[in-house]
């Protein structure tokens, strides 16, 4: 049997994931199974125990909602899939950063302990055109991440309260906002 992830190597390990009532079994080769478990570790490692369990709950809940894996579609810039990225460990182009949200954000948080850049920006000559954006428009751009964060907080709260219908609505709004941001 071929590995379910890379579809190339011989599968040697059966990997079973349980999310809610649903049981999913993957057949993986040695390399992909290592990455799979690394990623699982990464998701829990980055958080304190209480946050970790909340996060698992969130993953389990959102994972059951339709379209939860839509971020794992191929990158519009270069066609790379998230699985391919996980295999080679390198992104294909700058658009991959948007395409692989929010998994990539979690990964960045784990690697760096932060998800927000501090420091040097692009050159002064490139920053100049941005200054020409009307103030109101600039303000809207500024507000977007805030809204996104608020929405994500609401989503988390809805999941914690087990209000899954509300969570589904919020999740779609988050996805839409992220798409808008990336376009």
């Amino acid at each position: 049997m071929k590995c379910d992830v890379c579809k190339e190597q011989q599968a040697t390990i059966e990997f079973t994931a349980v999310a809610g009532d649903e049981k999913k079994t993957l057949h993986l080769c040695a390399q992909c199974s290592k990455q799979e478990s690394l990623e699982k570790d990464a998701q829990t490692e980055e958080l304190t125990p209480s946050e970790g369990s909340q996060n698992k709950k969130l993953n389990a809940a959102v994972g059951q909602l339709p379209g939860a894996d839509s971020h794992k579609g191929p990158c519009s810039g270069c066609g790379m899939t998230y699985e391919e990225f996980r295999k080679i460990g390198r992104l294909g182009c700058s658009k991959c950063y948007e395409a692989f949200e929010p998994a990539l954000r979690r990964l960045l948080k784990r690697i760096h302990g932060s998800e927000k850049h501090v420091g040097r920006g692009p050159r002064a000559s490139q920053a100049a055109p941005k200054a020409e954006v009307p103030a109101t428009e600039a303000a809207v751009v500024e507000q977007k991440p805030q809204n996104l964060e608020q929405l994500q907080q609401e989503l988390q709260a809805a999941v914690d309260a087990e209000e899954y219908e509300r969570a589904a609505g919020l999740r779609d709004r988050v996805a839409r906002l992220q798409r808008d941001e990336s376009s």
Partner: protein, 353 residues
């Protein structure tokens, strides 16, 4: 510039920067940058790679610091010539071995270099001798400003500079210090020090050794995170850690001097004797002997042997440098003979009376 002429001489950035005790050998700053309009290394086509090279070379030509720099395309170099550049820390093994159109641009004293089409389109590097980390950092920032003034970089307001590997996202900055810690190794305090460093999110690795086994007691300390901390704060932190390590090393050296003066002096002078007289030197043995002599210099036992001399010797005795110097391929046994010859010849030139 011909590559042959490089082989016989030390990278000139190495000289003139000896710090008082020779514990800190060099500092390196690296920035990862990508041009906004092209895919990263794993997805780029050869014709796009050529466009990247053209863009970067044009930007370099109009810059101050790189206008007279030399460019070597990897395709014009043979395997050994590429290895020579790796041994001089001008390119990475990846750039040497990868497929596709790629190359390196570096200035006269080899302190500044730009790898083109590594996993990122640009890898800017600045080297400085001794403890001059601040000047390496200043130089890389100036080069970054100059080179990228005319090109648009892949950048995101939240994530900073976008790189092929998520471990470089943000500043794209890797700052590292090469440091010689023989007394800490000898007093078996190194393990404890290394554990402490890990908690500070700085990594330590041996430089010429296999894996974590540091040959010649040389360690490279570098920042791990590139996202969330500014370039300046990474620099400050690295300088702070370096000063601490130098302090620990000095304390350990003082302790050795007090408690085992005879043994330490014996170790230093035996090493000096072997390096001056041996006919066969493996790279491992050479690195360990060199470390003992370096310790002798730091302790003031060995006079007239500058740190830069030892640093150059370390590069000149690498396999590809030896092979380039010989002009033909060498078996490992022949290499060890040649290494010993070269070390004897060089040591006889310095006045250590």
């Amino acid at each position: 510039m011909k590559l042959d002429s490089l082989v016989r001489t030390a990278p000139s950035w190495m000289s003139g920067g000896d710090d008082a005790d020779g514990i800190v050998i060099s500092c390196r700053a690296r920035l990862a940058r990508n041009l906004a309009q092209f895919p990263f290394g794993s997805r780029i086509t050869e014709s796009q790679q050529l466009q990247v090279i053209d863009t970067v070379l044009a930007a370099a030509k109009s810059s101050n610091s790189m206008s007279t720099a030399t460019y070597f395309g990897m395709s014009v170099l043979d395997g050994n010539e590429r290895r020579v550049l790796v041994e001089r820390h001008l390119i990475s093994p990846t750039l040497a071995d990868d497929k596709g159109e790629r190359g390196v641009l570096f200035n006269q004293d080899e302190s500044l270099s730009v790898m083109i089409n590594e996993e990122d389109h640009l890898r800017l590097q600045s080297m400085s001798p001794g403890t001059r980390g601040k000047s390496a950092f200043a130089a890389i920032c100036a080069l970054d400003d100059e080179l990228l003034n005319s090109v648009e970089c892949a950048h995101d307001s939240r994530l900073g500079f976008l790189t092929a590997c998520p471990t470089n996202t943000g500043t794209g900055l890797r700052l590292s210090v090469l440091i010689h810690l023989p007394a800490l190794v000898l007093t078996e305090d190194m393990e404890r020090v290394l554990r402490g460093l890990g908690q500070l999110s700085f990594t330590v690795r041996g430089v010429y050794g296999e894996g974590s086994n540091a040959a010649g007691n040389l360690f490279q300390i570098s920042n791990q995170a590139t996202l969330g901390a500014s370039e300046e704060s990474i620099l400050e932190e690295l300088i702070g850690i370096t000063e601490k390590l130098v302090g620990y090393e000095r304390d350990a050296q003082d302790a050795l001097r007090k408690e085992a003066r005879g043994q330490v002096e014996d170790k230093v002078w035996r090493a000096f004797g072997l390096l001056s007289q041996a006919r066969i030197l493996t790279s491992q043995e050479f690195m360990n002997l060199l470390s003992a002599v370096r310790l002798g210099c730091t302790l003031g036992l060995v006079q007239g042997v500058p740190s830069s001399f030892l640093n150059h010797l370390m590069i000149a005795t690498q396999p590809s440098h030896l092979r380039a110097e010989a002009g033909h391929s060498l078996s490992p046994a022949e290499r060890d003979l040649r290494r010993a010859d070269l070390v004897r010849e060089k040591l006889s030139e310095v006045d250590n009376s």
